[in-house]
Symmetry: C2
Subunit: 165 residues, 2 copies
Amino acid sequence: MTGGLSAEELGAYFALMEVGSLLQYAVDAHLRAEGDLSYVQFQILARLADAPEGRLRMTDLADGVVYSRSGLTYQAGLLEKRELITRSSSPDDERSVIVSVTDGGRALVARVLPGHVDDVRRLLFDPMADGDLAAISEVLGRIRRHMRSTPPRSAKPRAKNRRKG
Amino acid sequence: MTGGLSAEELGAYFALMEVGSLLQYAVDAHLRAEGDLSYVQFQILARLADAPEGRLRMTDLADGVVYSRSGLTYQAGLLEKRELITRSSSPDDERSVIVSVTDGGRALVARVLPGHVDDVRRLLFDPMADGDLAAISEVLGRIRRHMRSTPPRSAKPRAKNRRKG
DNA sequence: TATTGTTATACTCTATAACTATA
DNA sequence: TATAGTTATAGAGTATAACAATA
């Protein structure tokens, strides 16, 4: 069953996938309960709240949040309906759409963030010992850079679309 | 924006989530291309192929694969249609259903596994240096055990259902 | 022609609740 | 009553392709 991975590698792979999955499940449940937000919606709002002047172009958002463009349009529509964001066309480039967080959007992020951070601390960081954080950060950061720079084996013409279908 | 997590902690959290997400995206795409299998379906088949005599009860499968029962019934229906598994009622307990991998199911797992393992090696293990694997394994294993033993803050009556809706 | 974003559409997946059958 | 599994249903989310508008 291992076919080229050692038992330890296989264990690390499964552990990584399970930790990521359980963590996402936990924070997603919290975000929905506290703010009626999916994880993706929270990511969009948090990115905007963190951006200069609280605004980003749709394309920049899609690149960061890892989405198809139509998927982002769908989510933006939901957030706009709730008046958590606004959309307006860019003065620089009439094709572009600028997404901005509203005060309500910022308030919602501020409201759910403490609990969100609690979840992450409790699940992810509490079981870590001294030195674990530095070690994990270094390796995961390296892996992330590697993944970002490694094109998929069947390189797509242009890497805008992600996620499964 | 950090609200209780240090910059390094926040970075580690984001890196973990992104690595898990990118890895799952990559292996999912491969499994679909090579075997028309979703990641979940592959997990079901792989678990069965790894089980004694290639069979498990539905409940045991649901516990491992992290699913609602109806979700597992749905996926099992798809796999049964493709004759990758069979279902039969248990002689021990007439309420239970025993799921078995077929030869075709085993063959499919064998066919997609090398590429799957390649993906994992290339994306996850190639960028690791000596000692990284041991360090990561130990910490992630500890976190996983911690997560499994930590009940959700709003403990559900019985922990059979997972994932978001 | 290429890029940005939207729309229409179809489909996959998931959860909830009601249900059957067995223990 | 509790457990195992299925079914019906309804909804969220996603991708694809066609489209309009701008560069």
